[in-house]
Subunit: 483 residues, 4 copies
Amino acid sequence: MSFDKFNDECGVFGIFGNANAAAHTALGLHALQHRGQEAAGVVSCDHGQFFAHRALGLVGDNFNSADVISRLKGTAAIGHNRYSTAGGTMLRNVQPFFADLSLGGFSLAHNGNLTNALTLRKELINRGALFHSTSDTEVIVHLVALSPGVTIEDRIIDALKQVEGAYSLVMLTPHALIGVRDPLGVRPLVLGKVADAKGKEAYVLASESCALDIIGGSYVRDIDHGEMVVINENGVTSLHPFPTPMRRFCIFEYVYFARPDSMVEHKNVYAVRKRIGAELARENGVKADLVVPVPDSGVPAAIGYAEQSKIPFELGIIRNHYVGRTFIEPSDTVRNLGVKLKHNANTAVLSGKRVILVDDSIVRGTTSKKIVTMVREAGAKEVHMRIASPPTTHSCYYGVDTPERSQLLAANHSVAEMAKLIGVDSLAFLSIDGLYRAVGEAKRNNDIPQYCDACFSGEYPIALTDKDSGIGGKQSDLFAEMA
Amino acid sequence: MSFDKFNDECGVFGIFGNANAAAHTALGLHALQHRGQEAAGVVSCDHGQFFAHRALGLVGDNFNSADVISRLKGTAAIGHNRYSTAGGTMLRNVQPFFADLSLGGFSLAHNGNLTNALTLRKELINRGALFHSTSDTEVIVHLVALSPGVTIEDRIIDALKQVEGAYSLVMLTPHALIGVRDPLGVRPLVLGKVADAKGKEAYVLASESCALDIIGGSYVRDIDHGEMVVINENGVTSLHPFPTPMRRFCIFEYVYFARPDSMVEHKNVYAVRKRIGAELARENGVKADLVVPVPDSGVPAAIGYAEQSKIPFELGIIRNHYVGRTFIEPSDTVRNLGVKLKHNANTAVLSGKRVILVDDSIVRGTTSKKIVTMVREAGAKEVHMRIASPPTTHSCYYGVDTPERSQLLAANHSVAEMAKLIGVDSLAFLSIDGLYRAVGEAKRNNDIPQYCDACFSGEYPIALTDKDSGIGGKQSDLFAEMA
Amino acid sequence: MSFDKFNDECGVFGIFGNANAAAHTALGLHALQHRGQEAAGVVSCDHGQFFAHRALGLVGDNFNSADVISRLKGTAAIGHNRYSTAGGTMLRNVQPFFADLSLGGFSLAHNGNLTNALTLRKELINRGALFHSTSDTEVIVHLVALSPGVTIEDRIIDALKQVEGAYSLVMLTPHALIGVRDPLGVRPLVLGKVADAKGKEAYVLASESCALDIIGGSYVRDIDHGEMVVINENGVTSLHPFPTPMRRFCIFEYVYFARPDSMVEHKNVYAVRKRIGAELARENGVKADLVVPVPDSGVPAAIGYAEQSKIPFELGIIRNHYVGRTFIEPSDTVRNLGVKLKHNANTAVLSGKRVILVDDSIVRGTTSKKIVTMVREAGAKEVHMRIASPPTTHSCYYGVDTPERSQLLAANHSVAEMAKLIGVDSLAFLSIDGLYRAVGEAKRNNDIPQYCDACFSGEYPIALTDKDSGIGGKQSDLFAEMA
Amino acid sequence: MSFDKFNDECGVFGIFGNANAAAHTALGLHALQHRGQEAAGVVSCDHGQFFAHRALGLVGDNFNSADVISRLKGTAAIGHNRYSTAGGTMLRNVQPFFADLSLGGFSLAHNGNLTNALTLRKELINRGALFHSTSDTEVIVHLVALSPGVTIEDRIIDALKQVEGAYSLVMLTPHALIGVRDPLGVRPLVLGKVADAKGKEAYVLASESCALDIIGGSYVRDIDHGEMVVINENGVTSLHPFPTPMRRFCIFEYVYFARPDSMVEHKNVYAVRKRIGAELARENGVKADLVVPVPDSGVPAAIGYAEQSKIPFELGIIRNHYVGRTFIEPSDTVRNLGVKLKHNANTAVLSGKRVILVDDSIVRGTTSKKIVTMVREAGAKEVHMRIASPPTTHSCYYGVDTPERSQLLAANHSVAEMAKLIGVDSLAFLSIDGLYRAVGEAKRNNDIPQYCDACFSGEYPIALTDKDSGIGGKQSDLFAEMA
């Protein structure tokens, strides 16, 4: 079990007051599938009884049968998509989690990552708590269960005051759907509503607005940082139980995570990405014949780059969307097979041309190198790579699966070195201020940045308690069972 | 979720100090498969790290690959077979259970049933404990986790002093294999040993001695009622932490549960069953041409009956061992299909004969009636049914899956009525004293019976706390999640 | 692909004129499961349209859903069980076979083995026929398709006149169910009937009468050797198109293959086996304390032996019916693991006793040796093995999966040598005349034996054309595709 | 079994003389996955022995294990992708087909459709041939088997002279890989080569050049219409055994089927599609704010349209590539759910805008209507649909799965009616001459068109023998067995 396991980027969804709660939740999770493909789960509630279905694999493979949906009874439900990380996976880690509390059933789904989960887990185990998963999220459930609070809302607030990290949570109780964002609002969470056939409206919570679109719902507003909303028969009640000195939404959601058709924090992701491309062209122009995106994530920035630079946009690399990650390599003569299973150079387009390749980011750099090789073998005369974000020099501890620093190319090499390693004629990244301009700021406020950009800046807005205490290293104490 | 779910008859196995601990455990569980076919699990321990594999289905289908066994590392392991009850099943109920405690990993497997589990569960939930299964066994794990005891042994003793019911437990800690039988010793548990290729001996715990035979091991002794054995690098330490006023082993283990080749409580099961058959013949002789067992469970008693009565033993009913429980019935003309999938009358043997049918017990009576019909249709002139136990008039609450009293034929009808309902020319049961004679007693001690015979007598030697408090009825409070 | 693949012992079933034809066929195949466990198939016919379902595995696992049965429409159906041979298996070899002929659909299921199938296959391929399986049976379908006969019956007769070997066939055409036995009647085939809820009777064909019992049907008669029956709306028409100089039913069906509750060729199998046991006792008596069967196949003969010898019959070996063929061996210390997965010595019964072990036959002798070792380790003072058949010295080419002669223990060793190898105090086989007496003959007619006993005598009543021409060796010509 | 079943658009691949033949074939099929997703198969040949693996589902799910690939031994292999048509599917229809012929093993994979297959099938059945599949392709195998030709090449030529229709075939014999295109060259087939690690070159056949790219191979040339190439140890031999009056490549391959990065018939598909978009803009310009493709197939034409019209290209519709075809609809309030599972309007882009939607074609029109509704609900002020092909007024009988004419929107409505039904402000199709210009012709030669454009023109260049004789209607004669 590697430490990577706690770094999950996930999607959450919740609905209250609709006769087809589970079916809507399944659809919402399908729309949020890009946020996690490893596993999915739905928990519904019907008059105090809870029903659950969790499965490894895609929503569309596990939640599309009348049999499954009809067993998820009730007019309220929450759901969760889990990210596909390397290595084995355990069904007992698949959310939403559920517990019988003295106040009744309680279910919870979490997008984000807690930075003091291991510390809390150790304390809880010492108090006699039994952990059933290896997930950071389970500590919240224990803290709620052990809280002396009279109401479930009190207990949740009590519990969340003890945790550190990033979290957008949806929770289900016998009488309410509850949503919370951490005090900095690192991960997204939107409020929407959807009407049924008779016009009765139900409230919805979702990681991104695209999950509202698929069910024919409408966007109401973003949940505020540090806000808790309680949705029940009386409508939506908003609480602000946590101190919220500042808002630090993850700027990487705009760069890569969110779907281009989503509104997150009032901004259309596609439009931001096009502006990123335009900024990139302004900052790092180069003479060339074509602007070619690395599909699919580089496409909006490439369109923006092409518009700004007046250089034609072309599909010089074609993406094969059929799954094929693990083919047997015939021999060492099929170079860059891993890349070719998903991408192919469009030789007729690239041959003899000066090409600007636009990609969203560089992590380890291994794929970039293969793509550049492929583009050159297709006959490109020059290859200029433009990256739609600053160099990623630091790992994320707030819910994103990133390698350790030692494996981040930009953490260990200059841009010139990177260009040489990747094999391009030129390489340029968007500046940090360019990125802030693309999201609508004049520039980064270097005193208190408007966003969380720790992966670019190394400035972590939330304490890294577990990491700093080194508790992660003593795993055998905490996780004696291997699946 | 019916109350039946808490009534499991299971098999347990444990081994300490053998390089092939998991492979031996899988074999032991295979030998104990008759005690539970719904699911099986093995947990092993290697230098403080625990490894687990649990699966629905037979041991032979899930624990026979090198892949599975090699992942179960370490020189100590425990395993569990779960009984196949009606209705759905959840993987999270499959034992052995595991927990990270402050003292390290802890795993437990249980044969039996606790009679105050729901009461304890409610109290524990009120204290903030999170339950992950619907099993009675999980309360023991919580009680151990919450115990203030300094050593794991102290904590286990502390926990078990709070529970009521029947239990034979095998437990695994980073440094020991621990076995316990409840103060009355209702369920069996034997100690054995097995040598490896170099002659090094390892200790083994198992529900029945047949699990020692399969691994080439030898029987040492039965664990005593109320005894706790701690097996570690220093050998076997025996503790007697519980008051043990009397021994009340389940007499039905001899009638039906245990394998005929097993030694339980110093007695060979096959030999007891033959003596039961002989007692039955003595008590309830009848003129007939053949003694025919209802296979397979009625065979040893029928052999005993035939020897005693000098009436020939014949295989008048043939058993089809291939699985086929749920065939589609062609029409109402295939009478007694459910019985015919497993049994067929051997017409040439039965035709024109006066037949003594020997079966181990009658529960609802539905199968008996179908078998008698089948035997008559095969031409039997007379059918005399002899039952190798007294009438089962009461439900078991100590780990056996039995219907409620309202469904027990003998609880609601006289023997004469039963004979008529089943359609036999005569029907007779073994007397309770006859049964005690077969197991080696002069007669039942009616003051303090030597065995637990509650299913025949209604005298329950352990308090039925949950049942008496009616807590089982308020399930929605305790089990809000339905699988 | 080994030559063993062509040696299948199978079960067949057919029914005509019943609204639940497929459901009855599935039940019939379940009753015949002992004749083949590798795969099963059912083909039904509804107004000229045929429906098929074939699957690897047990009938009870593949033909027990309403979904499968309801898709097998029509009032006529045939079915087939295939034997589990070593090595890989191909779905396209699973019978019944089906073909679109110019006269309409045609389906066929075969128990037996053709001895000139490879010769015919080569000729047919040279004529341009395309084979879709590696089964001997497919040549019959081709010969029927290519026959110039005007009616399907003519074509079947024409085809069968070209084949050599053993065959009991059930065939389905748009208008009839057809059954045939080869001229010597080597494999069994019985005619029965079953009434529906309204009393309308349908005819049934089955390998053994136990398949009639399970559907509540009744036995009418055995199909005669060389007889062909055509069952259609007009009832049963009997044809005798083949020369039938003699009847040579497989005597080993009585020894081992058939179910004890079946009637084959007018004789109850259980009764024959008991008489075999009695003959064995008469021929090879020995002083002993117990008669112990090797379960399950040795049980009836052991009962007969015990009755004749007045030595008590005891279950000294217990059989575990749960499947577990391929467990991982923990180490070399578990001796005879392969045997122990299925059998266990009942030590309390055997210890200190002189034991007569009764088994049906000895093939390679490897299992016998392990069982004897196990019995001795359980404390038996003497072990005398008695075999309920003569020594098997020759391979079968008529539909039974047997090893080559080089691997048959009795083909290469004297009885004294075998006794030493197996480790018994004495070993004796039933004499060939004793076997004939048990089946009701005064003795074997050595000029023209009344049965096929080639496996004991080496006298093959049907030419072994393929074997003698050595065509089996040139497999690459005939079977270029490996699955 | 609907007639649609014979209309398959498939992909084929073959390789000769490479030690990793099967692994290369699996990769080639993965690159051709867009031509068929229902099933895939690979047959390899090693010294005259053939090995096969066929499976329902994607190549990446069934041919990516070392286990599967290592069993497909040999240095030559062929493979096939099968199109996903509605309704059930039978494994026995999955290609490549295989047969043992008198000359040795023979395997074949087919892209296209025969128009006299049923007629030939009936004749062959009357001659005694046994068909194993319901595929049109099997008649070729029978004709080869029955041919009197001395060599396999003679037999193939003899067989193909009897069939009518469209076919690109790859075939494997013990000594050669053989490729053929029908006399009109309706379906594509290219020749390429690939070097192994030591530089040894092997020849490859594939439906499209993208299958050469993935294995690091290079394009040599297109197989000519009516050409047969025999690839063996001596290299490539080209034969032209068929009269080839004209070349009539399927023009719809450029519109939709082929991958944009493929070269087919010397033209880059992406470039043709961009020219189609430009022609469309020239022919059917309209004032608007945005050009928005219906992704993914409409993207290249939309880029071409935007470049020509100087109207900005925008991703106004976002595609969800995760599979989710059959979700349970929550209620009637989720309008257009089927479309929303795959597409979502990017509201921020579309709102208040005049939108030109570019799609490749309109078949039934049902999806178009839903997409237009979705775009309008996102706030588009005007919606102008432009279709990158002429109206599809006729069904294809040459290997493409198309609905019957009665279901083709353009076959039954004027463009004005279609615009109204779909709900657009304007609708325009590319002219037939515009399409020919885009593929490089001055205009369509109306006497003998340069391409097969039957789906647009109703001019079928190959006789529709089965259809005209009505033989398809008498299916019960030809296909008595339903899977």
